[in-house]
């Protein structure tokens, strides 16, 4: 299954099987966040196309937030799946709609086997290596991030506006990125109900996908619509024809792509191996 983050309504015309919708107040992973009323309309449009609507509810919530979350989810009852990160939402979502989405927590088969019983779908951590992902096998109830950027830091603090105050400058809505002083990668940073930092550039699963789970999410973040169309088209073709070599065509796009930690072993792991 191919699910695409909706960063523009035109993306509804891509070849995806489902669309991930960011919603104000409850979303964290999606850059573009729609108002509740808009979201209800978008769900209808998705269903008119015979496709699936996935809602991003991946914010971390405190007790006082949960009544509002409940209210929002009640209005979104027609959505097909709700992606959530905070386990408080389990009670608010029917089992057949639950999609446990945590970038960091599902890192082994044993934890997956517990969580999958409580959810329709579960995201496998994109921090896993290729060998680790292969070892999961192809699971109907698992999803992978196939393309794009995702959250790698989630703070409750307003880290941009605090900084602007410290520098005696006005905080303005803008596209912000951070660069570490000894590195060149630019990481998007967004202040919205806390502060989130996203992975630099565009992570992608290329020909490796042949050996991996075929339920994938394409994260579009700030991509131009024409690029989203191209990317969805390439993944769609690969999944239909099972010719995964075509995914390397993504490299031809004018985008900086990388494979994250997919082909890396962590230093810690190497140290452990060296110690025997």
């Amino acid at each position: 299954m191919l699910v695409v983050e909706l960063n523009d309504l035109k993306v509804l015309d891509t070849l995806a099987d489902g669309f991930l919708i960011g919603v104000e107040f409850i979303s964290s992973e999606c850059f573009k966040q729609y108002k509740l009323e808009q979201t209800i309309e978008i769900i209808n449009k998705i269903h008119e196309r015979g496709k699936l609507a996935f809602i991003d509810a991946t914010q971390i919530f405190h007790d006082q937030d949960l009544e509002q979350v409940k209210n929002i989810l009640t209005h979104l009852k027609d959505a097909d799946y709700i992606l959530y990160n905070d386990l408080a939402l389990i009670d608010l979502i029917d089992l057949e709609k639950r999609f446990y989405y945590s970038v960091t927590y599902i890192t082994n088969k044993q934890d997956f086997s517990i969580v999958e019983k409580e959810n329709a779908y579960t995201l496998l951590s994109p921090t896993l290596s290729f060998e680790e992902l292969v070892s999961f096998g192809e699971l109907d109830k698992a999803f992978l991030i196939g393309f794009g950027t995702f959250e790698i830091f989630h703070s409750r603090r307003p880290l941009i506006s605090n900084y602007m105050k410290y520098r005696n400058t006005e905080y303005e809505l803008a596209n912000y990125q951070v660069i570490e002083e000894f590195r060149s990668e630019k990481y998007p940073i967004v202040e919205n109900n806390g502060t989130k930092i996203y992975l630099n550039d565009y992570y992608y699963l290329g020909k490796e996908l042949e050996f991996l789970n075929k339920n994938i999410i394409l994260k579009t973040f700030d991509l131009k619509v024409e690029d989203v169309f191209r990317i969805v088209s390439i993944y769609s073709k690969a999944l239909k024809t099972k010719d995964f070599i075509v995914l390397e065509d993504l490299e031809k796009l004018p985008l900086k792509l990388h494979k994250g930690l997919l082909l890396e072993n962590s230093i810690l792991k190497k140290e452990v191996k060296a110690r025997g």
Partner: protein
Amino acid sequence: MGKVELLAPAGNLGKAKIALMYGADAVYVGGKQFSLRARASNFSITEIEELVKFAHTRNKKVYVTMNIIPHDSDLNNLETYLKDLERIKVDAIIVSSLYIIRKAKELVPNLEVHLSTQKSTTNVKTINYYQNKGVSRVVLAREVTLDEMKYISQNTDVELEVFIHGGMCSSYSGHCVLSNYMTNRDANRGGCAHSCRWNYSLVKNGEILPENYNIGSKDMMAARYIPQLIDMNVASLKIEGRMKSAYYLACVVRSYRMLIDEYYEKGKITDEFFAFIIDEIKKAENRETSVGFYDGIPGVCGQLYDNRTEIPTQEYVAFVLEYNKDKQMALVEQRNYLTVNDEIEVFGPNLKSQFIKVEQMLDFETNQSLEVARHPLQKFWINMPFEVTYGDLIRLIKNK
């Protein structure tokens, strides 16, 4: 509800014993497997066993952290490890993985399971979820405010553990993989490179802003909130810092011990007493502090800007090994440069601060008089007009 627990970290056996001697009711330590803080000198089973015996004879507890977010390869030997911990009578394990929770409940049902702050638990419903899995205590996320803690404590019967002192992640714990992507060190498996404390530039609409940008948090010091935490029946007050020195632990643990005991004894804490405690803590604390989220979401004052500001601490100069009543001298082990005529403060688990001038130092090996103790771990005798015991500490007040 019993007296609140003061829970201290320990990176090795010596530090664990110091923390318990200085007033901690329990310590948490990492084993060789399953624990974060890979660089702390983590404990072998034999060392944990020795620590448990040391703690239990003093009616205190030992918790073992198993709070990595494990990959498959990390789970080897889990069953043996859990059974070992139960055999040596560890009081609880601190866990993040649902699988480790389940395995512990199946294999070692008498071992208490505490949920690590790595799961960033922020609300009652999530606590209920983990309670149903068999967790008896939840370490709340450091992002929970005092008002939120109050609500949670009134709406759950699970024991709550809260951080009161030490370093803070800038991100919700367990949700940050900056270190993984920037350095290939897995933050959730003990390899965190503390990327949130580095210097960054902020780019706004493609333009790099001229000054350094930082996202790091000041350390937490919640001394002023201890009475409220006790009143809301929080079970455990936790100090962070398995990498910190024995001196730091002794000072911080002792200060919070005094504060907690004062509140139980007198039912209130005066401003003077708070000031005294905060001053005591600052003697060991070398990083800027704030109150974290206790007062609400931190503003500018909670952040660490223009990084690498370290405040000099009062110097820890010697560790007391034994006392000779007849000679009125203490045998000590050197930790920092000390000279005759320096003014020092001596304090310990059962010793209120005493101030003296160094009048005489004798080398332990040669019995020769010393003007200066300059060698690390050098043993020497020092004049001491009052009785001291093993574990008492000496810090420098004033150089001659």
